[in-house]
Symmetry: C2
Subunit: 345 residues, 2 copies
């Protein structure tokens, strides 16, 4: 297994190092065999080459069996001609990573960390399936003039069908309930989403479907998060709703995500940003990266034994009260990581 | 004062009747002089004329000093060639109602109704200033074909400047803190928003400005709602964020909004929908309509004495434990309304 490693910026390299140390320890006990290849990406790549996604990084990512990304961006590149985020959009597009899978799960131990009341948030367990390579993120024309600006939200029917099917298939492995989120009372693209959803749904007779406007969905995520199982939505709505959803878990620093292509490697990354404010302080929570690695082990390598090892070690560490600051504890990135590695050994 | 009355659909006419009864009682004690003219709008207008915004309704609204709208839409018109919502977009555009003002205030008595924990939500008091007549709601081209669809997000610099100035001016009457919400790391229109905000901000040296991406703002509304004073944002982001924000108050059924034009009448309406599920049951909360009327009295007619009368009567009624079902009580639309009228007399 070849893994492309993109450490990125600010806390990115710190949590990547932590995650890889945990992976190494777990792999040693289970004979999971892998090779790491590290590439500059984002701000680090701009500094090194002038480009957020250098050719060699893209090539390396394309050739790998899976990609690990930590986090990119930050104030340092605010006025750079190209921003680190441009690299993220470019790699998504180049690798055809059309399905971003974002789990929102509230485990009982973390209910007290949620900003929501316990009776509302308890039992929350849903996944947002966000379209990631089309919509207003990529549509043309795009224009920025002194007196006006234009962005274009375009969807091909085939792009909509593909992501809907990915979501319906995921729902079949879960509680068989899909919520398609759109703004079909206003947008033409949303009307097409809804039409295609209505055509595709009968192919999954075991799955219940409901439709929700994006504004109503933004309400329900806060009011009644246990309503959801699988939310399928377009790129921009998915960006907003998945961050809103992550917040209600109260454990942003622990949440991984997967971006899947049609074929080729998936990309795994924490959902949080590069946190320039805590970079270098040892306060970064390594769990999001460790959870991203677990997700990679399971979904790209079917290495469930190795993933289970890590999962148990993390659970034991948390149960022992060793927690990072964002979960209310005092463990540093390093002490947290070492504690997990001790548990693995 | 001439007030155009658009009762709308489902619970719309029920809460409109309640609101107007309260207005009548309060006006009688303060000699506030007004004339009502009622027009069909939304689904009711489709039934009567085939159009959600008939010419006579638009003319009447244009000629009025203020417009009261209850709520429109519902499943009855799902397959109508024109939907009730089209009337809403059309009246916003025709009257140039470019600034939608949505207060999000959590009064101490309602903290227990919020889905958020008390320590997070207590003291929340902010206003979302949403651009309402441009962006992806109105941009051309808009296309719906079998194999693709297109929506266009366009902003003129003048449209952005106008709404920003409205927001900054509002902030000067409040805690002098503006948050401009955009997606400037991806969208050209957002980059223009941010450029213009940076140009406009120095004209309001007493106002602090910060910038937030829409996904981060969706997080912060749940995590730290007391951070905000005035949020200024474009049409679609405002739609999503203002509904999310309304939810954290736990009192959706009480929140009014104002849509302001450059000149001409403002439109006042509850932020909730027409609630087909409770229409005819007496469960509709009249407070959103009553609060809309108070807002109208203050902002369009400077009739503060009349508005104060109503405010005191509402507070006394709630303090006496008379509450609608959505606030945890058992009062009907009618009994709630009568109790408030009794307090006025
Ligand atoms: C950094 C930004 C371009 C990106 C996005 O909007 O997709 C991020 O918010 C995300 O969700 O991965
Ligand atoms: C009904 C719909 C078109 C409308 C909107 O999206 O503007 C509504 O959600 C609102 O916020 O007033």
């Amino acid at each position: 297994a070849t893994i492309a490693v993109l450490p990125g910026d600010y806390i990115g390299p710190e949590i990547m190092q932590a995650g890889l140390a945990v992976l190494k320890a777990a792999a040693a006990t289970t004979n999971f065999d892998y090779q790491l290849k590290s590439y500059p990406f984002g701000g680090a790549a701009i500094d090194a080459t002038g480009e957020p996604l250098p050719e060699a990084t893209l090539k390396g990512a394309q050739a790998a069996d899976a990609i690990l990304l930590a986090a990119i961006g930050g104030p340092k590149w605010d006025d750079a001609p190209q921003r680190p985020e441009a690299g993220l959009l470019a790699i998504r597009k180049a690798l055809g990573l059309f399905a971003n899978i974002r789990p929102t799960q509230v485990i009982p131990a973390l209910v007290p960390r949620s900003p929501l009341k316990a009776d509302i948030v308890s039992g929350t367990d849903f996944v947002i399936v966000r379209e990631l390579t089309s919509g207003i993120y990529f549509g043309e024309p795009r224009e920025l003039a002194a007196d006006h600006a234009i962005d274009t939200m375009v969807y091909q029917a085939s792009e909509i069908e593909r992501i809907l099917r990915a979501g319906f298939e995921l729902a079949q492995t879960r509680r068989r309930h899909v919520t398609v989120v759109d703004k079909a009372n206003v947008l033409a693209t949303s009307k097409l989403w809804r039409q295609i959803a209505e055509q595709v749904a009968p192919d999954y007779p075991d799955v219940t479907v409901d439709y929700e406007y994006v504004d109503a969905a933004a309400m329900k995520i806060v009011q009644q998060p246990t309503h959801f199982d699988v939310i399928i939505t377009e790129n921009l709505f998915g960006d907003i709703l998945s961050d809103e959803a992550a917040t209600i878990t109260g454990s942003l620093g622990t949440i991984p995500s997967e971006s899947r292509g049609i074929s080729g490697p998936s990309l795994y990354e924490p959902i949080h940003g590069s946190a320039p404010d805590i970079a270098g302080t040892g306060k970064a929570d390594p769990l999001s990266m460790i959870n991203s690695i677990m997700l990679m082990l399971r979904n790209s390598f079917q290495a469930n034994t190795t993933a289970d090892k890590i999962a148990k070690a993390v659970a034991a560490t948390l149960a022992a009260g060793i927690m990072p600051p964002d979960l209310g504890g005092t463990a540093t990135t390093e002490s947290m990581t070492n504690a997990i590695i001790e548990q693995i050994k």
